[in-house]
Symmetry: C2
């Protein structure tokens, strides 16, 4: 029985990590589509979100059944609860990728600002790295890495502030960039939110290791603008 | 033993509902502060968020211990898992109230647009009603109400679209309103996000009743702009 249970637990972890990679790809593709004005890619991000949502449902169901049927010991229970919690965060990160994809589709060829798009691409690269790091820290149950990754969220918020200032300057200088700049602001706010979800997952990793729920960056959160 | 457990479960529900009311108050106060330019009230929203966060930690701890120590039957387990999940949503709704409060503090007396502020106040009133309804539906475990409340999120997204258009018009007409309009957009995006979290809680109520995780409004989500 215990052997079977540990197999199930490994399987749960593997499926969670896989979901993380699906979400990371969605984020990467959504920003690529936005920066390259690639509506076909944006549509594929929206279509693929279905699979991310199904994976959350699958993880939820498996986790619940493992708890209900196998009554795991405390340390195992904590792992399962972590998957339940963190998979919701991943799913919502996927929703934000969809929002970015929708911004791409909505764009109607208004004046664009390459300088701001460059910063958005940098911000997206930083977010992508955070997502990859947090998935790695999760697999390794590395609490120290989780703390460090959460710290990186400050850098994401700095990108937000930078994009905010650039948009204000640009809109003031040239009214033709107003519609486009609003989109830049929204995309930047979605990326910032993804960074917040990564911080949440960092909190779950600490929870897994310590059994304590700590709020990392509680004052830094949402501080981008 | 069962009697004790049912007491604990009732206590858990009561504490969750109480958390919901704390969050509802935070949202209400944050928008009130924003519309009335009341920085003192905005500061109190930020300070009170500490108590919301502590309550989530408390619910998390109690839920976990109930599962670990009492090994509840499936239906009770589902209730506890729902509290664990939905309390995270409430906590993040509180974070968005903090974001709105921070927008209020950031405001530096730039030109304001009463017409847009009026729509924001209407949007906030609609969100507040949704939050109250979802807390009520949760207490009554009313799946039908949960479905209807999730439908109301379309109305919230319509407010977002309306605010978006008004901001674009206003910024194009008068560059002095650009900084203020960006804030309007952000506050509207926070309120929209709170509506999404209410929809998540609706999903947990359905989960509680049916054992199935359904995504309500999956295509409608994030559709505001």
């Amino acid at each position: 029985m215990r052997r079977l249970f540990s197999d199930e637990l490994n399987d749960l972890h593997a499926r969670f990590s896989e979901m993380g990679m699906m979400v990371n790809e969605a984020i990467f593709d959504s920003v690529k589509a936005f920066v390259n004005h690639d509506k076909a890619l944006a549509h594929s991000v929206i279509d693929n979100d279905y699979h991310i949502n199904r994976r959350e449902v699958d993880l939820e169901k498996r986790s619940f059944e493992m708890i209900a049927l196998q009554q795991p010991v405390t340390s195992d229970l904590r792992m399962i609860v972590t998957v339940m919690k963190a998979s919701s965060d991943l799913e919502r990160m996927g929703d934000h990728a969809v929002s970015i994809a929708k911004s791409t589709i909505r764009v109607k060829g208004e004046t664009r600002v390459p300088e701001i798009e460059k910063v958005i691409a940098q911000m997206a690269a930083a977010v992508k790295e955070m997502v990859e790091q947090v998935l790695d820290a999760y697999v390794k149950e590395d609490a120290e890495a989780a703390r460090q990754i959460a710290e990186e969220d400050h850098g994401i918020n700095d990108f937000s502030s930078q994009i905010y200032s650039l948009c204000i300057d640009e809109m003031t200088r040239d009214a033709d960039t107003i519609v486009g700049s609003m989109d830049y602001m929204l995309v930047s706010s979605y990326l910032e939110r993804i960074g917040d979800y990564v911080t949440n997952i960092c909190e779950w990793i600490l929870y897994l290791k310590t059994g304590k729920l700590l709020e990392l960056n509680s004052n830094a959160k949402e501080d981008g603008f």
